[in-house]
Structure formats: C-alpha cells, structure tokens
Symmetry: C2
Subunit: 616 residues, 2 copies
C-alpha cells in the first residue's frame, strides 16, 4: 500500500502514513492528538483542520458543517478526511488536545506557547478569470481569521512581489490582528521576539524563538541614563529642568535597547529582520522615557503619569532596527511610581492568583512592594533610595569585580570580594551583611549608633581595632589599606549605617502598611518573594537580622531573580499572559505611602536594627 | 437679575441669558435648537449636553438617567439644568435638531457636515490627590467617547506639555476613532482637509475647511507620470519592465500631491499643519502607484489588483508634509480597471439611489461606464484609448491654448481656438465636433470613410478644397497654414477618424452591454451623466451625431464635471458619505467587457458614425 507524508503546521511536524489513514489518526501518530469528543464520528466538529491537496473528497457531514468558501479553502474534519497523497495540514490551536507549553525560567510554571506573532505558511492558488480575488483578499481568505494589513502598507506593498515570485508558497506574518508581512516561501521558523527590562541601573534584553518559546540569547548593559543621575528622581529633574533633557534621556535608552537587541540577535545568529515584536517592562518613569513621552507629571505632586495603559508602537517609529513592521508592546503601568516592571513581577510570581498572604519586593534603585491576599493586590513604591544599589554609601558600588558582597564577623572580619581582586567598594548584599554582622556582635547598637572602641572592651581585639574615630565620626574598617585597590582603608561609616536604616525602614514600613490594609501583619506572610539582582544575592539571614524583611521561617522567603524580565518574556510568549498582565495593571490598588496615615509611625518604628515580626 | 454667557461647543456660539434660564432655552436663543420631543419634561433624554461649571445641581430625573461617572463629567439634560454662572456647554451632534449641512458644488445636494476629523476644545481640571487620573485618561474622559491615541505616539507625547502650559484649555483632535493630537488653547477652527483626484492626465487638490465643509482653494497640475507614458497601460509596462519603475512612478505622483496640497494651503493662507486628512480618488492603477503598491497584477490577465478595499495610511509615511499625524484615506476600488474615481463619481451623482435607468460615463484617458437601474449598479472600463484626450490623434492635444475645441461646417469651416492664438492642435471636443460636422455634411461616410474630392462635387467649394490627398491618404484641412502656429495646415486624417470610431464604439458598446444586463437598451436611459473635463465641454449634439452617446432628448444628458473629485470632497466632509462610498464599492458589479459574449458584436455595430438608439 502507498505511503504518504503528512506535514502538520504551524508546528511543522511530519509523519508518514498509509494511504487511506484519517488525518485524525495521522495527527495522533505525529504526536499531535486532536480533540475528538465524538470519537471520530464527524458529529462534534472539534477536529477541524485545513488541508490543501492530499485529502479525499469532503463527506456529507463536512458539507453540512462548512460553507462553500470554507470547503474551497480546504476546511475538513480530521476524523473524516483521508490521506490520498502527500499533504500539508494546518492545525488550528483550537483543535489540539495537548497544547504546546514551555517553561519560562523563573516563572515557576509552564505556559502555553501562543505568541502574539504568528507566521503561517500558505499555499495560494494563482488568480484566474474564475477567481479574480485581489492579492490581499487571497491571503486574508487563506488565513481564515480577521486580520488587517498595517496602515504603514508594508505588507500590502510586499504582496504583489511575494505572490508572483515564490511558486505557490508564501508565509503570512501576523502580530495580533495586524498582517505585518507576506514573505516568499516558508519562513515560519524565523520568528523571534525580544523581551526587555529597562531597569534604572541595568537594561537586559532576552531574545526568544517564538514558535517554541525558548530563550535564544541574552544581552545586558548599564542604563546610559546614569550619567544624568543615579536614581529616577535626579533624571526626572534633568528631564524637566533642561531644554531637550527629556529627549536626550529618551534617545539614550532607545539607542541602548536597539544595541542590545542587535547584540542578542548576533549572539543567537539570527537576523534582526526576524524579530517581529519587543515586549518592554520598566518603571513608570523608564516607560515614559523609552516612548519619548515627557514624564513631566511625575516630577511633582500628585505624581501623575501621562499614561498607564499598555502601549503598542511601531519599532521603526522609535528608531529600533528590527523587522520594519515589528511592534513594541510596553506593559501597562500601575501608577506614578509603580510601573510595568511591577506588573511583570506580579505576572511572573502569580501574585494575582493563589491563596494566603504573599508579598513581593523588588529592591532595586526604587523599592516596589506588592502585597496580595487571596489574589487581591495592592502596591506601593518606597522612598528607599538607592542605598542597596551602592549609591549614597561612602564606598558603595554595584555588584561587580572588587565589590565586597559578603561579610562575616567572628574573631575578625572576613570579607568576600567579587572577582578575586583587591577590594574597591561595598555592594548591596555586602552592606546588609556588614550591618547585620556588626549589629549581631554589638558593634552597632539597635538604634543604629556605632559604638566607640571604649564601649567594646570585651570584643575580640581585631574587631575592636577596626573601629576608628576621626573628624567624620566613627567608622568601621572592613578592608585594610593593604587589601584595597586604592591602598586606603575601606570603611563602613556611621552615615552608611544611617542610610541603610532609612532604606530598610522605608521598605519594612511600606510592607507593614499594605499588609495592614488586608488586616494582616508581617508575621502572617506565607510567601515573601525577593526580586531583582539584590534579591538574588542578599543573605536572607542578614536581611532578617537588620529588619529589612520580617523574621519569617527561611523557607517562606524565596529569591525570584529578574521577575520583571520574566514577566516580559511571558507576555512575549503568550497572548493569554499578555491579557493577564493588562488585567493585573487594572486590578492592583496603587497606594501612595506618603499620603497615608500611619506610615511615618511605622517608618520610625522600623528604623531599629533588629529582627522584626508582626508581633513587635 | 444677573446675566451669564453660555458658550456652546463645538460650534462655538455664545449667548447671554438671565440666571435660572434652562440650557434648552439658552441653546434655542443661540440658534441651536435641541431635540426635546417630551417638551422639556426631562423624560425623553434627547437633549443631553455636557456642562463643566455654570449649571445648578443635577435633578432626580438626571440621576436616574446618568451614572456617577457621567454625572461627574457634567452630563446633563439641557431641559433640566439651569444656568447659574458663565458656562461652556458641549452639545453632541445627536442632541441637535437642525444639523449643519453644506452644499458641495457638483453634488447636486446638501450633505450633513460631519467630517472624520473633529477638533474638540476641552477645559480640564488639573490633577490632584483626589483626582490622580493620568493625562491621557483625563483627556479621554473629557472626550466622552471611545478614541485611542495613534500608535505613533504623537498625541501622547504632546499631552504632558499641552496640559501644563495652556491654562486649562486644550483642543483634542480626532480622526475617526484615533486621537491624533492635543493642542494648547482652542484651535478648533484650524481644521482642514484635502480631497485629491489623481487623474491619469491631471491631478486636482481641493482644500476644504472642515468645520464648515466649505471649499477653501483648489490647485491642479498635470500628472508627472505622463513622461512614462500617456495612458495607464504604458505606465504599467514601465512599472513592470523597469527596475525601480514602479517606485519612480509612485514618487512622481506623491511628490505632485504633496506640492499641490502645499499650493492649495498657501493660496488659502492656512498652515499645512492644519491639514489632518486627505481623501484620494483615482483609477485602480493610480491608487496603487500612489500607495507605492506595485500594480503587478494589473499588467496581465486576469488583471487582479493587489487590493480593492479602502486604505488608510499616515500621510507622513507616504512623505506628504501636512500635520504629522494626518491620515490619508484612499477610496476603495471596484476592480482592476474600475477604480476609486468611479466610486467617487457614483457617490457624487447618487447612482446608488433613485429610480429608473441612469448611466454615468467618465470619458477620460480611460472610459469608465456605470449603469444603474433602481439603485442596482454595474460598471466596466472600456479600451477606449485616449483619443478624446488628444492622444493617438495626428494633431491631438489637451484642451489648452491653441486647441481647436469647437468646429462648425456650413459654406466653409469655422473653428474656435482656445485662447485667441493661432491653432496648434485639436482637443477632444473639437475632434468630436469635427467628425460630427463632416459626417453631417457628408464629407465622412457613416462607415467612417473620408470621401474623395471628386465624390463631393455638389458641396461648397471652400469645403471641398479642404480635402487633400497625399501619400498618407485623404485628409481634411481644418486650419490653413496661415491660421496655425507652425505655418503648416492642421488636418483631420482618415486615421484620426478611425481612432475616433474605435473610441466611441468601445464606449457605446460597453454601455449597451451593461444596459442589456438590466434588460434595458440605450433608448431607455432616463439620465445620462457625462463626467470629466471632456464631459463638460463636449457638444451633446455632436456626441449624439457620431453615436458616442445614444440619441436621447438633450434634457436627459447632463455634464457633471469632475464628479470623482466631488466624491472625494463628500467623503472628506461626511463620515456618512464615506460609509456610503465603501458600500458602493462592495455593491457595484464589475464587468470585464472583453470576457463577455456579445461585446464584439456590439462593438462592430457601434463603429457606424450616425445617431444611435436602442432601437437600432
């Protein structure tokens, strides 16, 4: 008996079956089981596929189900249609039993791969006197769903050429309901997207292969806006005060994004032209800058953004060199200081679902806090300041080579320096460790006061001798002159301790206040999620020790990494996740801490350097 | 008693009324009567208006009708709300009794002015802690209808500045459902649109003031594509055969359009930036070229366009310098050789409505024919060739200075020359006149044969002596050497007569065939509409004399001028007319003459140079 090859699209899986096999059986053989609740009787109409040639004549059951146009397009019931030659079969997602799922690292779950970008190979019959449909109609009919060509006319312009130079096969590219391109031949595998997290300090671009949802490469760099100020507030001031200030800040971030996307494409060995969509997260200020919308309203009370809702814009209009019709999707903001990055974090960590009390904290240059109880959510940002990113700390620096990132104090001080080089400074996790250890051994009092050497006579001498007093006050030498790059001692100053207290008190008090809105206290937290690079590296014991986070069982505290970036990848991979992100932004209640009764009381209480819980 | 000024928007009409007057009465006093079928009892809900401040508290009737948000936005029933201070009132068109209508010259009717472009002055309250809506939400709420900012972000980028520099008044600009701009202050009067007819030979731009629908200025020029060929077919060949051919043809037409719109704006003394929309008609090939979509499919059977439906594209993307967010609306095509210009002609002449048999013919470089019976329509284009525009005629020229545009033959020949200069050539109306007169006096036989002098011995000598025979055959001198610019005799040749026959036979046969589809014949025509410049200048008696049009009573034959351009103006002025144009394009049946049985018979019959009617 003759055997034929059946290729299933868009997943591009082929199988060889004997003549007369039903397409339902062929699909099962190919590992793509189709829905057939009626058991293949042709009644339920769930196993719809589209077959060009290679199938037998439609049966009466099918003629009842489909109209003439649908029949002409090759709509069939897979259970009724039999293989009589090699065939290409388009399988709508709605006909599949097992959906194609992918695990996005950091999202702790699998998602259905259903990207907003679809590349659909089509075989088109040429126009004839009997079938004088326009080029456009021919493609739209073959797609069988409502799409419209983008207004920029790129796809319409490509049509006459693609349909007349490529044999009978073209690939239609849709982004949402937009037809963005028609390419000669079958190009369905060359479909990429980029997810970008615009952090105040660091920008990361993740390149994804859309048909599989897999990560292809990552590129990251420092946010070049840093030259206009380390934190969001100082950049806002630049934007508002200087002529062309906002435009310069916008250009800086767009250029870096363009560069990162290009670097990620190069690393993955794919063409920039194969990138059809970019999903972007960032705080409210960053999303404004990125879209070149002046964040004027964010510079003064009541801190009103120009927009909150998700934005979609042509990449070419922003000046990003990917496919000319590619679009950029910017996730929605929640409020003036709680942005799309927080939406991404909530999406990645699923705070919008699930039971109990969950708290997520992104301790970056700003500290954003989300509290969820049984899926209800509220969020705030704290005036934490960038202490944990190394700013405003006398020898603060990012977590790069030369940074002290871990500190232990016993008989003497033991510092770990990143990169096996002399110490250059102190990064966030090192700062928290240093303060926590010095509190633990009593060098720093609960009030934050650094004790004088004469108060520490019972301490090990090596520790006591590290305390020095000069005109700037008391300080504690973490690395001696011979251990540092510049040959000067590297100290933690009384002022550094103060900055640490202010930052951690802001975060703790914010969390406490949001929890109180749900009638809960810090001790009730079932899951505490620490996002951001700092959240990854911080020692949980130290964070608890200084009261940055509540004194919970350690198994309730998880580091979730760059959750905002994971959220952007989810949005790129799955239209359901995208809708969910938009729903999240609408649902989260935005709390302005400074306007709330009780915040300053809580803030003052949280200044104490000691383990804290709701029972305090 | 105190008196207050009430300003009604968007019409910007003010009136002064005593305190306590209802807004219904105030509107009547201002000449803007509102709908009030319930007689001002507050029951019917037809007189809805939006009042910022200046009105008293809402009544129970209104609280039942409007939800909290609507009440907060100032929705009121004009019959219930009373004036208690100076007030701005937004009056939705749906609340008005008398609609604002305008007569578009050439459309034989008035249309409601309801342009797709709306400029709406808004007074916005500043953000506060109690009302922290984003800039965008504030504007969208004030607009009170579903609009979205364009993806190019222009309006979003303008928002923060406009809302913070302009006191409390801004003007929102919408094009359809797109918010395209937010301008500081009240700029509602600076709203213009251009209607452009891209003819194969001539391009005309009409600048309209949108709030009133009035024509502000007109600019016209020759289609610069003429250098690539006089007719559509030769330009198509250029486009298909030459590398970059299609791109060159596109650029030529876009540049001219940009130039004409600029000239029209200059003449009217308005800024290009105040032009927010351009409506374009042209034949199928011209609309393809204009949008830079290669008309590849039109170059060979089955003559399939790339698209038929209406297209909307950003003017900036085409390279037309008007408002940066302005859009270009290209009316839909009907088929390969029946384009958007024919849709415009049908719209202007209302062939889609009305009783009886109506025929419209646009005798331009192509001849398009539409036949309508009781509102049912079919259309074709004819292979008429450009004879009537002066091409393929030995001394043919356009109707410009030096063109013989009218010919009478009695004892001698009497030619009228345009512009009081020596004769240079023969334009379309002169050609038809010359042939008709020479047929009438017997110099040309019904068959088209030009008689020899020896056959015309009984004719006046001065006429007979104008017939000369040389190696090229017989010809008839219309202007003697001393009457012409180049000092050579200007003749009608046997070949010219032949071209005239071919052209008129194609038109007549096409009309005859379409009529037959409705069971009608040329004698049944109730209205025969002649469009295009040629239709304006042709002597109807001569057109009947040679059988270009049927022998109807002259009062059934009307010249309707540039009906395609009028259609474009209607679409610009009225969204109802725009929807009607799209419905027309879907409804008209497109007939390919060359594929139809009976066409060549009819064509051969129509070669005879004599008055014709359905009874022939």
């Amino acid at each position: 008996m003759a055997k034929f090859t059946v290729r299933f699209l868009p997943s591009d899986i082929s199988t060889t079956v004997p003549e007369g096999t039903s397409f339902l059986e062929a699909a099962a053989a190919a590992g793509l089981p189709l829905r057939s609740p009626c058991g293949g009787q042709g009644h339920c109409g769930k196993c719809v596929v589209q077959v060009g040639c290679g199938a037998d004549e439609a049966r009466p059951e099918e003629r009842r189900l489909f109209n003439d146009r649908e029949l002409a397009e090759g709509r069939r019931l897979a259970c009724q249609a039999k293989v009589i030659a090699d065939a290409d079969v388009i399988v709508p997602a709605s006909s599949l039993v097992v959906e194609h799922r992918v695990s996005v690292e950091g999202a702790f779950r699998e998602v259905l791969v259903e990207p907003n970008v679809c590349k659909i190979p089509l075989r088109l019959s040429p126009p004839s006197l009997e079938d004088p449909r326009t080029d456009l109609k021919r493609v739209l009919d073959a797609l069988g769903r409502t799409v419209r060509p983008t207004r920029s006319l790129g796809p319409l312009r490509a049509l006459p050429g693609a349909l007349r130079c490529a044999g009978d096969e073209v690939t239609a590219v849709t982004v949402g309901d937009d037809l963005v391109a028609v390419e000669p031949g079958d190009t369905s595998d060359a479909a990429h997207g980029a997810a970008v997290d615009i952090g105040t300090t660091t920008v990361v671009a993740y390149l994804c292969h859309l048909p599989t949802g897999r990560l292809a490469s990552v590129a990251a760099d420092l946010n070049p806006q840093a030259r206009y100020g380390a934190d969001v507030i100082s950049r806002l001031q630049t934007a508002v005060a200087e002529r062309e200030g906002a435009a310069r800040l916008s250009r800086a971030i767009v250029q870096l994004l363009d560069d990162l996307v290009g670097r990620a494409a190069d690393e993955a060995g794919v063409s920039r032209e194969s990138i059809y969509e970019i999903a972007v997260v960032g705080n409210t200020c960053m999303t404004h800058f990125f879209l070149a919308v002046a964040p004027t309203g964010l510079a003064e009370a009541p801190f009103v953004p120009a927009f909150r809702c998700a934005q979609r814009v042509r990449a070419a209009d922003l000046g990003i060199a990917v496919h000319p019709e590619a679009s950029v999707f910017v996730l929605p903001n929640i409020g003036g200081y709680v942005g799309a990055d927080t939406v991404g974090m909530i999406l990645a960590s699923e705070l919008d679902r699930g039971d109990g009390v969950a708290v997520a904290v992104d301790i970056g240059t700003n500290g954003e806090i989300v509290v969820a109880k049984d899926g209800e959510m509220c969020a705030c940002s704290t005036a934490a300041g960038p202490a944990f990113e190394g700013a405003r700390i006398s020898r603060g620096m990012r977590a790069a080579a030369g940074a002290i990132d871990a500190v232990a104090v016993e008989d003497d001080v033991d510092c770990h320096v990143i990169g096996d080089v002399p110490a250059r400074g102190l990064c966030g996790s090192g700062l928290v460790d240093a303060v926590a250890e010095l509190v633990r051994v009593g060098v720093i009092a609960e009030s934050g006061r650094m004790r004088r050497p004469d108060e520490l006579l019972s301490h090990p001498e090596k520790v006591r001798h590290r305390l020095i007093e000069n005109e700037d006050g008391v300080q504690f030498v973490l690395a001696r002159a011979e251990e540092t790059e510049d040959g000067k001692p590297l100290s933690l100053t009384a002022r550094d301790v103060r900055e640490t207290q202010l930052a951690k008190a802001a975060i703790y008090a914010g969390m406490d206040l949001l929890l109180a809105d749900f009638g809960a206290s810090p001790g009730d937290i079932d899951r505490l999620l620490l996002a951001g690079a700092f959240g990854n590296y911080i020692r949980r014991e130290s964070a608890i020790g200084i009261g940055l986070i509540p004194a919970l069982d350690l198994d309730r505290v998880e580091s979730i990494g760059n959750a905002a970036g994971v959220g952007a990848r989810l949005v790129l991979t799955s239209t359901s996740e995208r809708r969910r992100a938009e729903a999240i932004a609408r649902r989260v209640k935005h709390v302005a801490l400074s306007e709330r009764d009780g915040f300053y009381d809580r803030f003052a209480d949280a200044m104490a350097l000691r383990p804290m819980s709701g029972a305090d």
